[in-house]
């Protein structure tokens, strides 16, 4: 029995190839964007994990010098003798490559060459040594005499070697950067403070700093991918819904002929599963292409913004393409669930006619549902707390907005119809209104695409504006210099003081406030801070009070996470509680920050010496000072960064970010445009009975075609008009709710009218392109086809 049923079911697709193409293409495009974004995220995460494994961050506790400097070899030896099971690490840059030196004999399992399969420990330790890195990294290394071992699993832009070799290459003369603390330690070991008083131990971080820093970026990419997938699902839902409606008479006949309903539903589900898998395969392949095209820009963005090293090459991971297929299959299931459910409930003698009237009646229900969702979204925005509530708010806002589109369009078109005086105009508005139910899914897809565009571009542009303003505040000094040790720091001050307006030491120490990890900074009272720093909130006379040591400034993260509002006390050190005088924006920083006066800092942390300095001078004199610092204080070029270079780098990073978001914007709009094209093509055949009488009454085909084009523009424009407030709502939710809940800082929302106009023009163009082919076909339609509507045999 199954064979004949399948022949009957599949015959539908044979007779409606356009519908089949719509279904497959919609799913494939949605899957492509989703899996493309996932591939990028997976590649980035793999890079973070590789870096973590190589460097030991996040897995093991670390011991570092309390003043941020290096650890003498003697201190390491003393610790080992005192029973500490620690392993030394040297890090530094050799040209553009990050060099990491480890000691494989003492390193815990899972770090460095201990983790590299096939590593020859003897060769690693002896003779000229070995260097492990990716092929492209090895190619950039100067000739060191060591054997080069291609290691694809190594962290990007990182070369791993024996600590002795690293010490020689970096010229460290036995000084160590940090010590990795093994998980198992002898209980008889002496306390750290007793053996090495200047060292501090930090707990494993769980996630690496880079992973946490970049989480916001990946979250946004994921949100974009998900939205694109949802847009694709709208197409699939429309195609499946139409196919099911058109097959209702056949289903009734098959059931009347004795086919059990269960068997029928099972076979239809199976048919969809095969289609879903086929489209999924194409989608995953397309996703790979999308990811490969975007990955270099994403890698550059993450590298520039957060210093994260991401491989620019894509790896085909089984988990990735399997999850791509799974989401394609799941999406098909979601899109088909309603149709299958309706089929399972269809009485044997139900009307075989497509249930247009039922769909019309559902319109009123949708309006009520949409209103309910929008009210719920508003309620969550006002009273809700937590990240999940933030996402629920976003979801209800988007779904509610999409569902509101058909009733709102109907209302506006009815108003236009009422005001029209010309008969053609009157018919145009009335006919457009009548087409809304059939086009609603495609228009909702367009709405979501435009909303995502408005929302994400507003967010990214707001971020850019805020971040560049923030850089202007924070990077007020013309030159930033880092010292190797206290001795070089003193040399820098000696060289710089007579040649600059001010030498501002950057003092910092890690601590905890109310259980939250924070960095405490000591700031000198100087016009640089007073003139440039703009505080989000501040007590009167904030800078004078700070200069007198009567309070602290905290960053927004600490204010939100630990509830440290103006006037509340912050425990800077045991026995020293100071009130909050001001709150400053600190975008992109995952941890809390406290700023105290330099004198207060010196009293509380007398061992901490400044190793970084901000130098104020005439911008024209920056190059000369760099040269002097190089010659007289031995400061390496890589330890000096001028303000202009950082800002230029930041802006170039944002430009790469824009490249990524613009590409995703255009791809999402293209998917929505495709949805419109498919809907219009399907509709073109179905609405001949509406067009033919108007043609017969004297409207030429060319005019009817022009009106069809105009209709697409009008509908896209009205959809865009709704997408704008919805997109701004989305941006607000991302900036003011999700960002705050996820990362602890809030970004101000800026408006970009020119950007919205450009987007609107792009959407109208997409709509015109989608309507062009159906309109052209109508203008060239043979009269015989239109006359077919009037034939008795119809």
């Amino acid at each position: 029995m199954t064979g004949p049923i399948l022949v009957a079911l599949l015959g539908h697709w044979r007779r409606n190839p356009l519908q089949l193409f719509t279904l497959l293409a919609g799913l494939a495009l949605g899957t492509a964007l989703w899996s493309g974004v996932q591939a990028i995220n997976a590649e980035a995460r793999a890079s973070y994990d590789a870096a973590e494994a190589t460097l030991g961050e996040g897995l093991f506790p670390q011991i570092v010098a309390g003043d941020g400097g290096s650890i003498p070899l003697a201190t390491y030896v003393a610790l080992r003798r005192a029973g500490w099971n620690v392993s030394p690490v040297i890090e530094g840059n050799l040209g553009p490559v990050r060099v990491v030196g480890v000691d494989p004999l003492t390193a815990p399992k899972g770090i460095g060459p201990v983790a590299v399969e096939g590593a020859d420990l003897g060769a690693f330790l002896t003779g000229a040594g070995q260097i492990f890195a990716r092929e492209e990294v090895l190619a950039t290394l100067p000739d060191t005499g060591a054997a080069l071992v291609i290691t694809p699993a190594a962290a990007p832009n990182t070369a791993l070697m024996d600590i002795g070799l690293a010490d020689r290459l970096l010229g460290r003369q036995g000084r160590i950067d940090r010590l990795i603390v093994a998980q198992i330690q002898p209980s008889t070991r002496r306390p750290l403070a007793e053996v090495a008083p200047g060292l501090v131990q930090s707990a494993p971080q769980g996630d690496s700093n880079v992973a946490r820093l970049t989480e916001s970026f990946h979250l946004n990419l994921t949100a974009f991918g998900l939205l694109a997938f949802v847009v694709g699902l709208f197409i699939v839902h429309g195609a499946i819904g139409l196919a099911f409606e058109q097959r209702r008479p056949m289903v009734r006949t098959l059931r009347a002929l004795g086919v059990p309903l269960g068997r029928l539903i099972l076979l239809m589900a199976l048919e969809l599963a095969v289609l879903g898998l086929s489209a999924g395969l194409v989608g995953v392949a397309l996703g790979y292409v999308v990811a490969a095209a975007l990955l270099p820009d994403v890698a550059a963005t993450l590298g520039g913004l957060y210093g994260a090293d991401i491989s620019g090459e894509l790896t085909l991971r089984a988990s990735w393409w399997l999850s791509g297929l799974a989401i394609a299959l799941g999406g098909t299931g979601v899109a088909a669930a309603g149709s299958l459910l309706s089929l399972s409930r269809m009485p044997l003698l139900a009307s075989a006619q497509p249930r247009a009237w039922v769909m019309a009646r559902q319109g009123a229900g949708l309006a009520v549902l949409s209103l309910g969702l929008l009210v719920l979204s508003g309620g969550l925005a006002v009273w809700g707390h937590g990240l999940m509530v933030g996402f629920a708010m976003l979801g209800t806002l988007l779904v509610g907005g999409a569902l509101a589109l058909p009733p709102l369009l109907t209302l506006v078109l009815r108003l236009a119809e009422g005001r029209a005086r010309d008969p053609v105009a009157q018919w145009f508005w009335a006919d457009t209104r009548q087409q809304v139910p059939a086009l609603s899914l495609a228009l909702m897809a367009l709405l979501l695409a435009m909303t995502a565009n408005v929302g994400v571009s507003t967010m990214v542009s707001s971020f850019r504006l805020t971040f560049t303003g923030f850089l202007d505040q924070r990077l007020a000094s013309e030159l930033y210099v880092s010292a190797r040790d206290a001795e070089q720091a003193a040399a820098i001050v000696a060289v710089a003081e007579p040649r600059t307006n001010a030498v501002l030491p950057i003092l910092s120490v890690e601590a905890q406030v109310a259980g939250h990890p924070v960095e405490i900074y000591g700031a000198r009272d100087h016009a640089t801070y007073r003139d440039n720093w703009q505080l989000l909130r501040a007590a009167p006379g904030v800078w004078d009070a700070l200069a007198r040591g009567e309070g602290v400034l905290v960053n927004e993260q600490l204010y939100r996470r630990a509830g440290r509002d103006l006037g509340t006390a912050v425990r800077v050190a045991p026995g020293l509680d100071l009130p909050v005088l001001g709150i400053f924006g600190d975008y992109g920083n995952p941890v809390g920050q406290v700023i105290v006066n330099e004198a207060v800092f010196a009293r509380q942390f007398p061992d901490v010496r400044a190793l970084r300095f901000g130098l104020r001078l005439d911008p024209a004199a920056v190059d000369a000072l760099r040269q002097t610092l190089r010659d007289q204080a031995g400061v390496a070029d890589s330890a000096m960064v001028d303000q202009a270079a950082i800002k230029a780098l930041s802006l170039s990073v944002f430009d790469r970010t824009f490249t990524v978001t613009t590409a995703l914007n255009i791809l999402t709009l293209a998917v929505a445009g495709f949805a419109m094209l498919m809907s219009l093509l399907t509709l073109a055949a179905m609405r001949l009975p509406q067009v033919a009488p108007v043609w017969a009454l004297g409207l030429p085909r060319t005019r009817l075609a022009a009106l069809d084009l105009l209709r697409a523009v009008v509908l896209a424009a009205l959809t865009g008009a709704l997408a704008l407030p919805l997109g701004l709502g989305l941006a607000w939710a991302l900036l003011a709710v999700v960002n705050v809940e996820a990362f602890g800082w809030r970004l101000p929302l800026y408006l970009f009218p020119m950007e919205y106009l450009r987007l609107g023009a792009l959407a109208l163009l997409a709509a015109v392109l989608a309507a062009l082919w159906p309109a052209w076909r109508l203008s060239r339609m043979p009269p015989a086809q239109l006359l077919g509507v009037f034939r008795h045999e119809r």
Partner: protein, 216 residues
């Protein structure tokens, strides 16, 4: 002469036999003609050629002395707007417009909209209470009356009716037919009625029969 056909021939693409072969006929203003024939004999095709809805392969179709053959799409559309009125068997009302807007539609396209005339026609055809409704809210007989009112509102010179009562029961068909003939007669327009019904055909002044694409 209102309508004149000379040696009109029409063959559909792919068909071996012409659907119309060398048809010639004349119709005066105010004249009413019944066109009968079997299914597939070419009645509707002939009607479509007369109304400028389709073009003949050979021969001349002239309306009010104007040859339709060389007219382009726009020219024929203008002719349909201003000179010809067609009543279809399937009514072919515009579902998105109200009954009142449907009746006035063609007259407004032709630039001859007269609200009083629309009201009078609606009253005469028993549609006065239904002007604000949509076509789908009316019965078949009511919908056909709307189609007749729409055709007559712009006062066309030629009315072409293609099985206008084919979808109606006998009693309703008689009422609708009588009303249509009465109203056409009042305007002085010519009428060509395509029908299967011998009963209705005999009620018109002149009758032609079409068989295998030829008039008999």
């Amino acid at each position: 002469m209102l309508l004149s056909l000379r040696d009109v021939t029409k063959t559909y693409p792919g068909a071996e036999v012409s659907v119309l072969q060398r048809i010639s006929l004349d119709l005066e203003s105010g004249e009413m003609l019944a066109l009968t024939g079997e299914s597939g004999s070419g009645k509707s095709t002939l009607l479509h050629l007369m109304g400028g809805l389709d073009t003949a392969d050979r021969g001349v179709v002239a309306l009010d002395g104007v040859d339709l053959t060389p007219l382009d799409d726009k020219g024929r559309a203008a002719l349909r707007r201003g000179t010809v009125g067609v009543v279809f068997q399937q009514f072919n009302l515009i579902p998105s417009l109200t009954v009142g807007a449907n009746i006035a539609f063609q007259a407004r396209l032709a630039g001859r909209h007269d609200p009083d005339r629309v009201q009078r026609l609606a009253q005469r055809l028993g549609l006065g209470d239904h002007l604000a409704k949509y076509p789908e809210q009316l019965s078949g007989g009511q919908q056909q009356r709307v189609a007749i009112a729409r055709t007559l509102a712009p006062q066309p010179r030629l009315v072409l009716a293609d099985e206008p009562t084919g979808n109606l029961d006998e009693a309703t068909a008689d009422t609708v037919f009588a009303l249509m003939c009465e109203l056409v007669a009042e305007t002085g327009a010519g009428l060509i009625l395509v029908t299967h019904s011998e009963r209705l055909a005999t009620r018109l002044g002149r009758r032609l029969h079409l068989r295998a694409g030829q008039l008999t």
